[in-house]
């Protein structure tokens, strides 16, 4: 028991910045979701079981269009493909974590990864439990903030028209941050250019899956040119 408490205490300070960010994004997510008619239960369901920030914003959009499960599934694979990289990087760190490993893998979100890949627990603190609590804290923040947002959205009726722009703004900010961190802009421009072309040619309802296929094709064909300067 002491082992767990020590790990919990060591983990908490590392998650405070995530708490701030998740409060904002989670509440925005909950409000946006409830503005589309999906109340608290749906927000909880999504934040507990999907537990993926950007994808949950995309999911709101999918939930307000005509039913297309195949599209939803493949879009999820592509949007979350970056997790493959996180998994590959964490293969060794997650070793020997016993039963906790399944939860650690489930909760391998961007924020958990950013903490866990760069932080070692203080001496004497069990690494497995430390990583477990970092993940659990992030999960709790995300679920609680989404629930707060959903409640706020259903208690107060206000004109929420345009609030969906929070998702656009989020991705634009991530785009800028990535752009500044990289010298090679071919990947970013490939994503923008290919999907914009597909959107113009195929229209808003049928462009996502062709875009993904074309993107994989471009990445595979021009691997030599692209791979050069991309920092890990």
């Amino acid at each position: 028991m002491n082992k767990k408490i020590a790990a919990l205490k060591a983990a908490f300070p590392h998650t405070i910045p995530i708490l701030m960010g998740f409060l904002f994004l989670g509440i925005a997510f909950g409000i946006l979701l409830s503005s589309k008619g999906y109340t608290l239960g749906w927000a909880l369901l999504m934040s507990i079981f999907i537990f993926a920030g950007s994808m949950q914003f995309v999911a709101i959009d999918l939930l307000t269009q005509s039913f297309n499960p195949i599209n939803a599934f493949f879009l999820t694979l592509l949007v979350n493909a970056r997790h493959l990289l996180y998994g590959i990087s964490m293969l060794s760190k997650y070793r020997n974590t016993g039963k906790k490993k399944a939860y650690l893998i489930f909760g391998l979100i961007d924020e958990s990864f950013s903490i866990l890949c760069s932080t070692e627990p203080p001496a004497g603190v069990d690494r497995g439990w430390f990583m477990f609590f970092v993940t659990l804290f992030n999960h709790i923040y995300w679920v609680a903030a989404s629930a707060m947002g959903a409640l706020l959205g259903s208690l107060f009726t206000f004109n929420s028209q345009g609030i969906e722009f929070v998702m656009t703004a989020l991705f634009i900010v991530i785009f800028i941050n990535q752009w500044k961190s990289q010298k090679n802009h071919i990947p970013a421009l490939t994503g923008l250019g290919v999907s914009l072309s597909c959107l113009i040619i195929l229209g808003p309802n049928d462009f996502i899956i062709p875009s993904m296929i074309l993107i994989l094709l471009v990445l595979s064909l021009f691997r030599k040119n692209i791979e050069k300067e991309v920092a890990p």
Binding site: G21, A28, K36, G37, Y38, L45, I50, F51, A52, S54, V58, A59, L62, L63, Q65, S66, F67, A72, F73, F74, T76, L77, L78, V79, N80, A81, R82, H83, L84, L85, G87, I88, K101, I105, N159, G162, F165, T168, A169, F171, I172, V173, F175, Q178, P187, L189, T190, G191, L192, G193, V194, S195, P204, F207, S211, L219, R223, E227, V230, P232
Partner: protein, 110 residues
């Protein structure tokens, strides 16, 4: 709600499943000391940058460019987000202010 209860549930379950697959796959494919193929490493390295571009376009897919308001609210709000973010470098500020500006634009101006 646009979808029926079960349609929404199926959609959410598939998204949860897809997310779990992307997180678990490396651990299933490359147990312990097996080396990760270079092509997969390459995709893992490049895809994060590509996908955000796709998501930006995805968010803007329903913008009306050819008729009023000609995508102006989006263009103005995006410009604000970009300038604010380059200036203050504060993620939450850029997102919050950009969203507010957009809401005012579509509710009061256009």
């Amino acid at each position: 709600m646009t979808l029926t209860f079960s349609q929404a549930l199926i959609t959410i379950m598939l998204i949860a499943l897809g997310t779990l697959i992307t997180r678990a796959l490396p651990f299933l494919l490359f147990p312990e000391n097996k080396k990760t193929p270079e092509y997969i490493q390459y995709l893992g390295k490049v895809l994060p940058y590509v996908v955000i571009g796709l998501l930006v376009i995805y968010c803007l897919k329903s913008v009306t460019v050819l008729s009023a308001p000609y995508g102006l609210p989006e263009a103005i709000a995006i410009l604000c987000v970009v300038l604010l973010h380059l200036w203050k470098k504060n993620t939450l500020l850029s997102i919050g202010a950009g969203t507010l500006i957009y809401m005012v634009l579509v509710q009061k101006v256009f």
